[in-house]
Amino acid sequence: MSGVRVLVGTRKGAFILTADAKRSRWHVSGPHFAGWEIYHMKGSPADPNRLYASQTSGWFGQVIQRSSDGGKTWETPGGGVTMVPGEGPKGESNKFVYDVSSQTGKPLTTHQWYDGTQHPWEFKRVWHLEPSPTDPDTVYAGVEDAALFRSSDGGATWQELAGLRGHGTGPQWQPGAGGMCLHTILIDPTNPQRLYIAISAAGAFRSDDGGQTWRPINRGLRSQYIPEPTAEVGHCVHRLALHPSRPNVLFMQKHWDVMRSDDGGDSWREISGNLPTDFGFVIDVHAHEPETVYVVPIKSDSEHYPPEGKLRVFRSRSGGLGNDWEALTKGLPQRDCYVNVLRDAMCVDTLDPCGVYFGTTGGQVYASADGGDSWAPIVRDLPAVLSVEVQALP
């Protein structure tokens, strides 16, 4: 591998950070899409130069951006300037329309609103873009209000996989404080028909037929903030992660509780163990050690900052089973630190040693080139970081 490219989405634009394989000297490019919220930006595993970005604004709505040269230039897929009206691109790359067709969009459901009444689905933004492992033109989008869309033409047009909203529990889903978002999409690398997604606040769901049909996978979760703590849906799952070599082993950072499943989500057990708090947003797995897991504990759901003002990544080398969470502090602020690390803002690279990255709401992006043993900021003063992804470059 020649180096890495870190894709950072922030409240006010996107930044691309590049380094060689040592990951010690960085070049910073950006802001791209200055002034817009970039909820997520991710590269295609099948073509590292193909990037997708979710660009959003309270004024102008959703825009999808695509790059075919590693982020040097960008385009709105299928939305270029039309010199002859009626004969050019349709400009539908930002058109996310819920499927209400009788063929695929039924049953048509509503979801639960803050006041307990039923509320129609209303598209707000794309939280997460997950490119296909094999096809650069196929990409999934997790959106708010929670639904899953797929594009097979490089983001030019989008179709909802409506079986998720329509499978039966949709009326019980409800928005969390951040909105009702579908924020996690995992594709089983050994079986592209198997997809996992997670929704705040509905829970985790699995499809075994490429996204056509879905079922909740929340057995074993316990959430005190819902009337029935062990209900089938209603859990505020913050993030899921898996290791490519063991796609049946899932790790979850829930609103409270860090969880593990060894059966593809059919059942879960808590692995919070000796963590100082089990609230948090991010969770990820070491690229070469499938039982090495990382989290960033956050004090509580009402105090979104690290406990004791100490920014600490915690690492377990036993997949959370050994009560062995160790604090990784070298190079991280250990006093007066009150930032948050949001759910899409941690990632790992596939170099050896494994690199680990995370971004904060204070605008820092930290990198570790030694599996978390030591850390250094790549940048310190970006806008609040919403997402961090990394690509190992050939």
Binding site: W36, W59, F60, G61, G78, G79, P89, G91, N94
Partner: protein, 100 residues
């Protein structure tokens, strides 16, 4: 030739640096709907950013001004001022003040 002034973020998205000019067929009465239809046909990347894709409703934080008048709440099929139709005055798409 109709003149349209876009907010900065939409100028960037449309890859223009100044006000844009568009043609609307002479036979079509110049309403806001006709003007935005022509704008979006010329600049497809703007679809969905000013009006909702399906309902064609104005996005809530945008305003429409022309000839020192606030036309935001005028019906979409109301005729625009003659000075806009003649190109004498621009039609302004304005982002609402964010406060703070």
């Amino acid at each position: 030739m109709i003149r349209i002034v876009l907010p900065a973020h939409l100028r960037t998205l449309a890859r223009v640096t100044d006000e844009v000019t568009i043609d609307v067929p002479v036979a079509v009465p110049l309403t806001r709907a006709a003007l935005l239809d022509a704008l979006e046909a010329r600049y497809p990347m703007l679809r969905g950013t000013i009006r909702d894709h399906l309902t064609a409703q104005r996005r809530p934080f945008l305003r429409f001004f022309a000839c020192t008048r606030d036309l935001t709440h005028e019906p979409a099929d109301a005729l625009l001022p003659g000075a806009v139709a003649s190109g004498e005055e621009p039609f302004l798409v304005v982002g609402a003040i964010a406060g703070g």
